[in-house]
Symmetry: C2
Subunit: 201 residues, 2 copies
């Protein structure tokens, strides 16, 4: 804590305002791991055993289905998050991250069932979080810099926060894809349902 003198009231207020800001959390590794650990169970609860038309439902065009999304998360476990963390720890910003293939799941998931994908995701995530815990990252580690091929300099803490927010982004997407299947079935209620109207209000 930076206490630069008595009566540094502005500083105190600054700290208080931060602590009371319910729209933002600072990155805390243990909290992020807690959220990352939940995602397999969340997707399992939402999806396992749903009839096929719901699993392959999408939002039109080349948008993704729940099946595609779980495959995408698996590919991230294999090639994106933890590998990039290791690149930062081993090479700093001297070596840019490998590019991530956002469409890899369209090949890799072929012929699989949703159930096998959910199992695979849960097992990869468990293993990756064990490995992440074993790294015993310090606050100084979280400040270490890597280089994103497009975004430029990023820190390890930002990478791990992004891993977490990316999970929640896709949980949100799965719920939206499913809910929008009833865009017609809800009749006049469509005006009230933000999931269908697209309003964020």
């Amino acid at each position: 804590m930076d206490c630069s003198g008595d009566g540094d009231f502005a500083n105190d207020r600054g700290t208080m305002t931060d602590a009371n800001d319910r729209t933002r959390r600072p990155f805390v590794l243990a909290e992020a791991i807690g959220i990352l650990a939940r995602t397999p169970a969340t997707l399992d609860a939402l999806l396992r055993g749903l009839p096929d038309p719901w699993i392959t439902a999408h939002e039109g065009g080349d948008t993704w289905s729940p099946f595609d999304i779980v495959g995408h998360l698996i590919h991230g476990e294999r090639t994106d998050w933890l590998p990039r963390a290791k690149t930062i720890l081993e090479h700093g910003d001297a070596r840019p991250f490998e590019r991530f293939d956002r469409l890899a799941q369209f090949g890799a998931s072929t012929g699989q069932t949703l159930e096998s994908l959910l199992d695979e995701f849960a097992s990869l995530r468990r293993r990756n979080l064990e490995e992440l815990r074993a790294l015993e990252l310090t606050p100084a580690d979280l400040e270490r810099r890597g280089r994103h091929p497009e975004l430029g300099p990023v820190t390890l803490g930002q990478l791990l926060a992004t891993w977490t927010a990316h999970d929640l982004d896709h949980v949100m997407q799965v719920a939206r894809v499913l809910g929008r299947q009833y865009s017609d079935a809800v009749g006049p209620w469509r005006a009230y349902l933000r999931i269908i109207s697209g309003s964020q209000g």
Copy 2:
């Protein structure tokens, strides 16, 4: 199936197009019950045991926290969905639905823990779905009309589809509220995360 003659190719295609439209599902009662039954476990997986600042996180202004949202779902179980279904079955469109209090949870949840709210929601939902199954609704029942105080005529099927989509709307909202807590923590990645940028693309 309406097969009005040999070689009615347009009709066949029409049917095929419907069956292959991955952006819409018709309302099927057993499917809706299957989805409604999942929501308590989904919210449990997402939320139970999260540190308090995540439970009371919100998106600014008078937006809702995960704690508020679970309270809102409880109030819906008590006063909205099944009571309205019974109003339709007993009174048709002769009696408009009771208005739903969207802010009731701000009183009702006071002093409760998230854990107790999750338990209460799961128990109410289980009981309501048992009662819904016991009604043994027929396709003709699903076409029966009720009267919404603002939207006017609606069918029982539309009400039950809305119950389902409303669940998914709030699952989406919970994931979004949580993910946006890292709007700053993700650093430059915020441009790529639709959950933070608000893009639906």
